[in-house]
């Protein structure tokens, strides 16, 4: 016990049988299960836990909850290090490691605290004013300097080793907050039969009941709490989620919740996540998030040892810790007096109670007498001092007379702000309630109601009554009538009278030192005054000019004081000055939790072709193509660079035969009496005349006249077509066709379904393609050139009766086929074709070789279908039918899209055949400077042709088609390229197309 000098001998909700040792700044301490890091530090007499952001002032622990602005630490070490963790909510565990932040070289001796001495220079607007000039200094000098001096903690140096999850939940009633109001609401709704989720950010349910010595129906509140939790646990459709913060309210009853599943353990157990981000869909919700106590602005109010009065009660009553032995209470309302009572009961000396009110309730005065506390009515604490630990406060009475009292704890109370943040996430503003001197929820997001302290109804009796009523009504809204009436609960008396004092000004013309409004961002009352003087009076200007409320705590303890001081300075009321509005998240949420499963390889789904295993067995190198993994090339042993491999693959196809997976192409089955008419309207070319058993190349435009996609369509029967799309555009084209069908022409009988996944498809290309194919096609099908000519498309069988589709189409310009079989047989098809091709030296080729051959043939692909090209640009203008209407027809004829100057599709080759071309190079006339004005287009695709033994390029060039034979430069400033090229036909190999028809 002696290791925890400030731990009470008994009492509190910590488990004294479970000691937990931990380290803070390398020093070993001991606490108990049920502690937070903050309570354990206080139990060990550790007051100084961090340095402030701007002035590096010593800071201690202000609060006992999520609002904490000061006690931010780095939790854990190594890859699990997490900066800016609030010690007040970090659950203690055995072996916990934490370090203070913002200090150098040590917490006790911080060199940068000189900022504090020269603080006059670091007032509001300092960054904006000082570091503006010269601009060049910003990046090299000012920013690194500021970053070193300020900064809140350090990010972990390695990848987070833990696992995170996203999850989705549905309920009738979501209850936010597990204090008396929330528990009463959950119980009422749960008893009615509604599906209820109760979330509380704490690891222990009970809220304020844990921190206070209260009675319900004449019994300790703990008994009511235990009975309520037991009943909730017994209800099958009630889910209680501790360690779960509702951080945001979104449209249509969606709530963001982060569950800290295993933050209370050093390492999450196997198979479990550290955190889980829930998206809760609730028909109704009840906000019962309680209230946050307000500090008072006075000189030295950030000295370690100055704490919120309610937090002091929490440390005494919940954690069995005395935050100090010689206490002074500074309170502007009755509530703070309870802290005096609880401290005295725990054995502390309460030296004084300072209350600015002249008249004090007689009962409170009697209590003060009993505990031997001097009462200073009509007085204020004008300053606190002691540097790294409070040792003295100065009390000033109404006449201005001051005296100082030694103490090690100052408990401050200035009333409470309802925790209404979530009510304004939909851009609805809170309203000022003069009776309780606080903002209360105004217009609420649909489906959300508010109960208890969060609604400004601060008494325990109100919380219980309010919660039960809101819970019942919420369930009723979801169609569940309350089964059991919840009787009103009788509670012990409590004082809620309040007369807030927003700041204590310096007396008699002397400055007593810094008085903080916003602790985390080091904003003082002087900063607010400066903002007012310089005209930054509207609340949004005040915020941005001073950074008030902009730190990680988002001003939970500071916003109202800032507003109140500005109101005073501008002689306005608080509501006239403005309201604060909040956005998600309520407290910081780790990006890891929001990402969940989706990181690394699981960032998005990966699609694998049914032939993937075969490609892998061939030693393929894969490339991402949209979501697909496609075989890029198939290196053979001894091939050390990709170009060698690709050259071999290209030559093998042109001189023999090759096999390539094309399963990833989109395939859309189109049926119906109006199928041909439908195709007429979506493609630029005609379809009605396409015979059954034939395929045709098609090009579709967007309605704005630019090319959308291309591919072949085959007519399998009179009213049955099979359309293919590019791999990249499959989803987009399906959506477009559904749009055309459902929205534009619903009366057409056309029925669309994707069959992309059903068919494995392979291209067999090269002069020996037919010979290979004959080895797998069942003998009753004649695939001779006469029986199965170029562009034939038929349903056949392979391998002894396996249904298949055979298309004589070619991307490579060779005699080529595409064979499709049901995906289960994709792997077998590739192996069978390889076996059949063995005698012909068949070669597996990938997308690289495919790309080389399409460039050799001048076929357009993704680089040319860029969304900025028209059919005419690509040399496909002649395909545009003049006899029918189709998508994009009218807009493609716009003046600027048909002018001669417009870059059009041509080929390029280097004048010196040894030179390499680069895609992305821009075309500039010979002898002209490489400027924007002289830009005539750009190179879209390049490849090395092993057939021609030089590089070839495709590109878009002004007046391109009419400039064949001219020379121009291809300028590539990024890679210092400037090459003279000759403009040529985009068809480099077999321009007559004779190879197709053999």
């Amino acid at each position: 016990m002696s290791t925890q000098p400030f731990r009470l001998a008994a009492g509190g909700l910590v488990d004294r049988t479970q000691a937990q040792s931990f380290r803070f700044d390398g020093k070993r301490y001991e606490g108990y299960a049920g502690d937070t890091l903050a309570s354990a530090l206080l139990a060990n007499g550790v007051r100084l836990v961090g340095r402030s952001f701007k002035y590096h002032r010593p800071r201690g622990i202000l609060s006992a909850g999520a609002e904490e602005p000061n006690a931010l630490v780095e939790l854990r070490a190594g890859a699990r290090r997490e900066p800016n963790t609030r010690a007040t909510v970090a659950e203690l565990y055995h072996g916990l490691e934490a370090r203070s932040q913002n200090r150098w070289p040590s917490l006790a001796f911080d060199l940068l605290s000189v900022n504090s001495l020269f603080g006059a220079g670091l007032v509001a607007g300092f960054y904006y004013k000082t570091f503006m000039w010269p601009a060049a200094f910003w990046e090299k000098l000012y920013e690194p300097l500021i970053r070193r001096a300020a900064g809140l903690g350090r990010a972990a140096p390695h990848e987070d080793p833990d696992h995170y999850e996203k999850a989705f939940a549905f309920c009738d009633v979501l209850v936010i907050g597990g204090g008396p109001a929330g528990l009463a609401a959950a119980l009422a709704a749960g008893r009615s039969g509604a599906r209820v989720i109760l979330c509380d950010e704490d690891f222990r349910l009970g809220g304020a009941l844990l921190a206070e010595k209260r009675e319900i129906d004449g019994q300790p509140a703990a008994e009511w709490l235990a009975a309520t939790l037991a009943e909730l646990a017994s209800l099958p459709d009630v889910t209680v989620m501790p360690r779960s913060t509702v951080y945001g309210v979104y449209d249509h009853g969606i709530y963001g919740v982060v569950e800290r599943v295993n933050d209370h353990l050093p390492v999450p157990p196997a198979h479990q996540p550290r955190q889980r981000a829930w998206r809760v869909n609730a028909k109704r919700a009840v906000l019962a998030a309680g209230a946050i106590e307000r500090p008072i602005v006075f000189a030295g109010n950030d000295t370690p040892g100055v704490m919120l009065a309610g937090a002091v009660r929490a440390y005494v009553n919940r954690y069995g810790v005395l935050p100090g032995r010689e206490a002074v209470i500074f309170t502007s309302g009755d509530d703070g007096w309870a802290t005096a009572r609880d401290l005295a009961a725990a054995g502390a000396t309460v030296a004084a109670i300072v209350d600015p009110r002249a008249e004090i309730d007689a009962g409170l005065m009697a209590m003060a007498g009993q505990i031997g506390a001097r009462v200073f009515a009509g007085s204020v604490v004008s300053s606190a001092s002691g540097g790294r630990a409070l040792d003295r406060v100065t009390i000033r009475d109404a006449s201005g007379r001051e005296q100082s009292i030694a103490c090690d704890l100052l408990a401050v109370s200035n009333g409470w702000n309802p925790t209404l943040h979530l009510t304004s996430h939909q851009n609805t503003r809170p309203i000022w309630d003069e009776a309780i001197h606080a903002f209360v929820p105004g217009q609420m997001p649909a489906g959300l109601s508010v109960a208890g302290s969060a609604a400004g109804r601060f008494s325990l009796a109100q919380a219980l009554e309010d919660g039960a009523r809101q819970g019942t009504e919420a369930a009723l809204d979801c169609g569940f009538a309350g089964k059991a009436e919840l009787p009103p609960r009788k509670t012990d008396l409590e004082g809620i009278a309040l007369s807030p004092v927003w700041r204590v000004k310096d007396g008699k013309g002397r400055s007593l030192g810094k008085a903080f409004v916003d602790f985390q961002n080091d904003v003082t009352d002087k900063d607010v005054e400066l903002a007012a003087r310089e005209g930054f009076k509207p609340v949004e200007h005040l915020k941005r000019y001073t950074t008030l409320g902009m730190a990680t705590d988002q001003g939970k303890t500071s916003n109202i004081a800032g507003l109140a001081i500005m109101a005073e300075l501008t002689a306005k009321t608080i509501p006239e000055t403005g309201t604060t509005i909040f956005r998600p998240p309520y407290t910081p949420v780790a990006i890891g939790a929001l990402g969940g499963h989706h990181r690394g390889r699981d960032f998005r789904p990966t699609r694998l072709a049914p032939t993937h295993q075969w490609s892998q067995d061939q030693g393929a190198v894969f490339v991402e193509s949209g979501a697909w993994m496609r075989a890029q090339y198939y290196p053979k042993p001894g091939e050390t660079d990709w170009l060698t491999t690709v050259n071999r693959e290209v030559l093998a196809v042109r001189n023999g035969v090759g096999l390539c997976d094309v399963s990833t192409l989109g395939k859309i089955d189109i049926q119906g009496a109006d199928a041909a008419e439908f195709l007429e309207r979506v493609y630029i070319n005609g379809w009605k005349a396409l015979p059954v058993g034939k395929a045709r190349y098609g090009l579709m435009l967007r309605e704005d006249g630019f090319v959308m996609d291309d591919g072949t369509t085959s007519r399998l029967a009179e009213t049955h077509f099979l359309t293919t799309t590019t791999t990249a555009n499959a989803g987009k084209v399906m959506q477009h066709l559904e749009f055309c069908h459902q929205v534009l022409w619903p009366s057409l009988d056309v029925r669309l379904v994707s069959v992309s996944e059903q068919w494995a498809q392979a291209a067999i290309a090269g002069p020996k393609a037919r010979a290979v194919l004959q080895g797998v096609v069942d003998p009753q099908y004649d695939i001779s050139n006469e029986a199965f000519p170029y562009l034939a498309a038929r349903e056949i069988t392979v391998g002894g009766g396996i249904p298949a589709r055979l298309f004589r189409i070619s991307f490579s310009g060779e005699l080529a086929y595409e064979l499709a079989v049901p995906a289960d047989y994709g792997d077998a098809m590739m192996r069978a074709l390889m076996a059949a091709g063995e005698a012909h030296d068949i070669c597996a080729y990938g997308t690289e070789a495919l790309g080389v051959m399409r460039i050799e043939k001048g076929h357009v692909a993704g680089n040319e279908l860029s969304g900025q090209t028209t059919a005419r640009d690509l040399g496909l203008g002649k395909m545009m039918s003049a006899k029918k209407d189709y998508i994009g027809r009218v807009m493609a004829k716009r003046e600027a899209l048909v002018e001669a100057e417009r870059p059009s599709f041509v080929g390029f080759k280097a004048v010196d055949p040894g030179q390499r071309l680069r895609a992305g190079a821009h075309f500039i006339a010979l002898g002209k400077p490489a400027t924007m004005e002289n830009d005539e287009g750009y190179m879209t695709s390049v490849a090395y042709s092993p057939n021609l033994k030089h590089w070839m390029g495709l590109g878009l060039l002004k007046n391109g088609a009419s400039r064949i034979g001219e020379r121009i430069r291809a300028v590539d400033p990024v890679r210092n390229g400037d090459i003279e090229v000759e403009i040529c036909s985009p068809v480099f190999v077999d321009p007559e197309g004779t190879r197709l028809h053999v």
Binding site: Y250, H252, E703, E738, F739, P746, M891
Partner: protein
């Protein structure tokens, strides 16, 4: 947001793709002028308030929907199939 798909029920907005104003009608036929088509392709009102807009339930039933939504509050008044249902169909 949650969009009440008339076929599937209320679904998370992640399942849908947005297109925009549902009111412009495509000018059909060979007589269509460039001006009319220009209006159809590019001209949109941007009302603060009630708007009939097209959404595609791509991760669900693949239906194009006309959703009537208040652009200020996101309140959804109605969601109907864009494709009219013929009388006599079983659905």
């Amino acid at each position: 947001m949650r969009i009440p798909c008339p076929h599937c029920g209320a679904r998370d907005a992640q399942e849908f793709t947005y297109l925009g104003d549902a009111n412009p009608k495509r000018p059909e036929g060979m007589e269509t002028t460039e001006a009319a088509m220009f209006d159809y392709v590019y001209q949109r009102d941007n009302p603060a308030g009630r708007l009939r807009e097209l959404w595609y339930h791509g991760a669900g039933c693949h239906a194009w929907l006309v959703v009537t939504r208040d652009t200020r509050t996101h309140a959804i008044e109605a969601a109907e199939p864009a494709k009219p249902t013929k009388a006599g169909a079983a659905a």
